[in-house]
Symmetry: C2
Subunit: 209 residues, 2 copies
DNA sequence: CGCGTAGGTGTACAACGTACATCTACGGTT
DNA sequence: AACCGTAGATGTACGTTGTACACCTACGCG
């Protein structure tokens, strides 16, 4: 009845995302998000309960407009497409990766993505316990791979430091790190995912329930 | 030459871990860690550069005494054992999981674990690009699964909330969440890992380089 | 033309990481 | 046995963070 709201959760999410994209995740605070919107800090608390909810808002905004349709192809190809889109979205906003990892089971949009993968698995004949394992394994790999890219990128400073510092204590690791620099993140993700999907196809078929 | 050190990095790590085990990860601060040791807060900075280094110290302490020997068995079984030990260690100190995820490429002990898995892969005939993909995929799954357990446990409040709240918007997800509650974390991890390893075995054999 | 209600905000506080200056106690020299 | 330089230990203090709380304020309805 009184005084209409001047902000929207969408707008708040977009502003917070803008801060992250411009100045990095560490720069996101209640104050910087509010300043980006031109309002006082405490105003945000009329829209979100606390910082965690703001974070969920952000990743929801990033994942919200994911295309969840699947191509007319085999289930492995379908899942590859879905996973690729999620990865593309997170790569477009590198800073949100830690938030995505933490809130992936809270964000409605992320849950919609999981629901979509479950739909594909179900159509492919996965049911019961086997479907549970397949879905959790897929999620573990996809988000684990995102985390790999974020905290220990193959081509970046991560392997550079690794390849140099540890050549004596970690001979195989150092050699592998050197080879790894020739592998693009896309290739790594794609090949790894392919292996996981092959494994899911073969496994568990002899134990129906 | 003057005044010998009164603390050890080992002792500091143990104290910080004790705080985490007793009061949770959020309770770990420079002040609480120092109080646990009976020294002033700033004394810690004679041993670590900043909080990040303290965190690395903690996870190094947790992973340090992992048994890295492998049984006399096939490479898949060997990797299963290695992964299982890492998981067991992190389950014994639930609170360190986020630290382990963040610093897994920084902690020497964690790198030793990775080196061990690489050794197994190498003996199994993995080389070049195929070895890189296998190792990164394995790491992605293992740490992704830990994160699954930590942030969205199957049997805990995570699926409980999911199974209830989303029964209309996420039909498959809700059904799966209900089934998932009958699956122990150990089974989930073991079955998922088995699938990943099978996939790694099959994949990439026809592309030698 | 008020008036109540809910949105907006300013102030304030506890807790955090840590820079800095200072105190202190020991090993090596005499 | 006395001292002295050095590096460990510490107390204080500052900037930042999330957010509780009390206070204004502007609009839709009567």
């Amino acid at each position: 009845m009184p005084r209409p709201r001047s902000l929207t959760r969408q707008g708040i999410a977009a502003a917070a995302l803008a801060v992250i994209d411009r100045d990095g995740l560490d720069a996101l605070t209640m104050r910087t998000a509010a300043r980006e919107l031109g309002v006082a800090t405490m105003s945000l608390y009329r829209y979100v309960a606390d910082r965690d909810e703001l974070e969920v808002l952000v990743i929801d905004h990033v994942v919200a407009d994911l295309d969840l349709s699947v191509p007319d192809a085999g289930w492995r190809e379908r899942l590859t497409v879905l996973a690729g889109r999620l990865r593309a979205a997170s790569c477009a906003h590198r800073g949100v990766v830690p938030l995505l990892l933490r809130h992936r089971h809270t964000s409605p949009a992320a849950l919609r993505w999981i629901e979509a993968t479950l739909g594909v698995l179900t159509e492919a004949g996965f049911t019961g316990r086997r479907r549970v394992v397949a879905q959790r394994t897929l999620v573990a790999f996809v988000f684990g791979a995102l985390q790999n890219e974020y905290y220990g990128p193959l081509a970046g400073a991560g392997t550079a430091a690794m390849a140099q510092l540890s050549i004596k204590d970690f001979p195989v690791l150092a050699a592998t790190a050197r080879q790894a620099r020739e592998l693009s993140p896309e290739e790594e993700f794609h090949d790894g995912l392919a292996a996981v999907l092959v494994g899911l196809e073969r496994s568990g078929v002899e134990e129906p329930k």
